[in-house]
């Protein structure tokens, strides 16, 4: 057992922290929230320059050959910085899915483009049913000659409005199949939703969208097993972002309570405030270890359905608690839009419900307990 980051991970963490402090200040985060695309092409290029877009992909596809645990370290820093844009969609939802399910040809063509920062990807999974079960998918793909024709409505699709490719889960008969779809194909219309985290979730309507049969990912009808893996990776990756956000909220809150003076002394010297901060620290450390355990298991290829579910169930609730206490300690100061607290508060709620909320994952844990 070794609960420290490796030297390489420490280096990655430090470089990421420094880079994001310089290149992704909160002014940019706020600007991107208001921006229609929510995406800074300049930042994207610089991130590609850092190798981040290829970080987790094999070298033969132009990547850096690092593993999921390394990616978790980077995602933690991104969560800390509230990084806007389609990194999560492109790398975690798009690229890693391609890497798992794509044919050699699909991988050889697309992953190098992702790694180079030339292509943006996303996953069109959820629908108005707002569920992460196969029953929740009504979008249909009908075979027609050399193509499939996809019709239906996808909802909560991140970054669809700027994506080059989408991986779409659609029903082929009784079963689910994944398709690699050109996001600009005729029949696709995208509307950006106004969401709590201003994170550019979209409604995507597929109106008789033709997709070549060659664009099926994996086996026809074999999509849901892949989706389960996607959700597992995405849940763990989301946890890593949440750890970073929660850590930053704790640090902001501790700093504030050292500086803010009331009754002639820093409020951090009052036990009421100290105990709020201690409760936050307990939650943050809890998030950290349960999340990294899951990321480590994913990295090493160990079966970890239960561990990922435990991580997401715990972290979903804990990050929310941390932001709530952070607000309590910041008082009125944290309630205004100019303060950074609200950026985390809004993102915590969005992250909580994404890729399965605590209830969803507790159900998985209950199943996995074997009783």
């Amino acid at each position: 057992m070794d609960l420290s980051l490796s030297e390489g991970q420490e280096m990655l963490k430090k470089m990421a922290r420094d880079f994001l402090v310089n290149e992704c200040p909160k002014t940019l985060v706020r600007e991107m929230e208001e921006d229609e695309s929510g995406h800074s092409a300049e930042l994207w290029r610089k991130m590609a320059g850092q190798g981040w877009l290829g970080l987790v992909f094999p070298e033969k596809y132009g990547g850096m050959g690092m593993d999921f645990l390394d990616l978790a370290v980077l995602l933690e820093e991104m969560g800390r910085a509230c990084l806007p844009g389609p990194y999560f969609s492109t790398v975690v939802l798009g690229g890693l899915t391609l890497l798992e399910a794509g044919s050699e040809e699909q991988k050889a063509e697309l992953i190098p483009q992702i790694a180079a920062g030339d292509k943006i990807m996303t996953l069109a999974l959820t629908e108005p049913s707002a569920s992460y079960t196969p029953e929740g998918i009504e979008t249909e793909a009908r075979a027609d000659g050399d193509d499939y024709v996809i019709s239906g409505t996808k909802l909560f699709v991140p970054d669809a409005h700027i994506a080059d490719y989408m991986i779409c889960a659609a029903r082929t008969g009784d079963r689910i199949t994944l398709f690699l779809v050109d996001a600009k194909a005729p029949g696709i219309s995208t509307t950006v939703l106004k969401t709590i985290a201003s994170d550019k979730l979209c409604e995507v309507v597929f109106d008789k969208v033709r997709v070549p049969k060659a664009n099926v990912l994996g086996e026809v009808g074999g999509g849901w097993a892949l989706v389960e893996n996607i959700i597992q990776r995405a849940a763990a990756a989301k946890c890593a972002e949440m750890v970073g956000g929660a850590q930053q909220v704790l640090e902001m809150t501790v700093d504030y309570s050292k500086q803010r003076v009331q009754f002639g002394r820093p409020i951090g010297s009052f036990q009421a405030i100290q105990h709020h901060c201690a409760n936050m620290a307990i939650d943050v450390d809890g998030c950290r270890f349960i999340t990294y355990q899951a990321a480590w298991m994913l990295s090493t290829g160990l079966p970890c359905t239960k561990e990922v579910a435990m991580a997401k169930a715990w972290t979903s609730d804990a990050y929310r608690r941390v932001t709530a206490l952070g607000h309590q300690v910041h008082g009125g100061m944290g309630f205004i839009k100019d303060h950074d607290m609200q950026l985390y508060y809004r993102r915590a709620k969005a992250a909580e419900v994404t890729f399965g909320d605590a209830e969803f994952h507790r159900e998985t844990v209950a199943r996995e307990m074997g009783i």
Partner: protein
């Protein structure tokens, strides 16, 4: 990062499990909650000693094994999992021995460590006093140096196993004129010394493991002083980190969890979403606690002092223990009221654990004190002074 145990560690864990399961099968003991506090069995402690599991991390020259902290954690995790009666040797193994290794003289180490390791000498801890609970440094029990000895007068309270321990690890004031943290010293005192009186305190469960201990002109030799005179507080601080850092702060009532899982399985209660979600919550929260406690052992294994990590793990862990007891009672419903007899569900374990559970977040440092430690030592918040 690597969460994997080595092959040797896994083998060690299985070895302990096999031993405990055999002992259960042989009827030596029944898994019991809080057995590290109440399960006082010199015979069983000697069996554990026979396996070489007391003083696991201590130097070989005293009979120890010089193994790592993670090994010790594995050992404690397993004896707690099976609710084995390990109370007799627990304080000596957990903190008296390490303290002697750090601060004792060679003579003291040779006098005590081999006997602790062999399960022949059992300790109780004389810390709290009627007027000194959370504010331990205000303690008043006095040791006055006189000729060739110290004369001790005063009273300790909440002293677990004082009525059956051989020695007390005693914290006393040696200089009342110095600031309160600076006039404290530690002694090891034979419980048979004239002038020591032990009076029982029966807890709300009806059990007797706590005591008051009175010291009336108790003469102890100067060789009973541990470490430096008046440096006791700084020696205790490290000791308290050991005291607070272990699996017993998460798994005190683990046998309730095992029995509850069996109860839920046998009754097919996971079909009820209210029950299954409670069970999942417990499972998740236990795992978080386990990792927080492994972190403490890992910090120790790096040669660092877990000076807030142990406080953090304990306050989290004891919350879990209370929640486990309460959840078990919720699942049991009316049956949870029965303490013993054929109508007692889970052999009355959940019921007794529920009654016991207010103690978890009080003993060994209240959660409030621990949170203040997390805030001041861990997060660097200013103290209230």
């Amino acid at each position: 990062m690597d969460f994997k145990m080595t092959g040797e560690q896994e083998t060690f864990r299985r070895e302990i499990q096999d031993f405990l399961l055999n002992e259960i099968k042989a009827g030596t003991f029944q898994p019991t909650p809080d057995a590290w506090l109440e399960g006082f069995s010199p015979e069983f402690s000697r069996k554990i000693a026979g396996q070489g599991w007391i003083g696991l991390t201590w130097p070989r020259k005293y009979g120890g094994q010089e193994r790592g902290y993670l090994d010790r954690l594995i050992y404690t995790e397993e004896v707690l999992r099976y609710g084995a009666p390990v109370c007799a040797h627990w304080p000596g193994d957990r903190q008296v021995g390490p303290s002697l290794i750090h601060y004792g003289t060679e003579e003291q180490r040779e006098q005590f460590l081999p006997k602790i390791i062999r399960g022949e000498m059992f300790f109780c801890l004389g810390m709290s006093e009627p007027e000194s609970g959370s504010d331990l440094a205000s303690l008043k029990t006095r040791a006055e140096e006189k000729d060739d000895c110290f004369i001790i007068n005063g009273q300790k309270v909440w002293t677990g196993s004082a009525h059956r321990a051989d020695f007390v690890y005693l914290v006393v004031r040696t200089d009342p004129d110095l600031p309160k943290h600076k006039g404290i010293s530690e002694f090891i005192v034979d419980m048979k010394t004239p002038g020591i009186e032990v009076r029982p305190l029966v807890d709300l469960v009806g059990m007797h493991h706590l005591n008051e201990v009175y010291f009336d002109n108790v003469r102890v030799p100067k060789s009973a002083l541990i470490g430096e005179k008046n440096n006791g507080w700084y020696q205790i601080a490290a000791q308290l980190d050991y005291e607070r850092s272990g699996m017993e702060r998460l798994m005190s009532n683990y046998p309730v969890f095992t029995a509850l899982k069996d109860f839920v399985r046998d009754g097919d209660l996971m079909q009820n979403p209210l029950v299954s979600h409670k069970m999942a919550e417990l499972e998740i929260e236990f795992e978080v606690g386990r990792l927080l406690i492994y972190r403490v052992a890992w910090v120790l294994s790096q040669g660092q002092v877990p000076n807030f990590e142990s406080a953090l793990a304990k306050t989290y862990g004891t919350d879990f223990e209370q929640k486990l007891a309460n959840t078990a009672m919720e699942v049991l419903g009316l049956s949870g009221q029965v303490l013993e007899g054929p109508r007692a569900a889970l052999l009355g374990m959940a019921t007794r654990s529920y009654l016991f559970s207010p103690g978890y977040s009080i003993q060994g440092g209240t959660s409030e004190i621990l949170k203040t430690i997390i805030a001041t030592r861990g997060l660097g918040l200013p103290t209230g002074k």
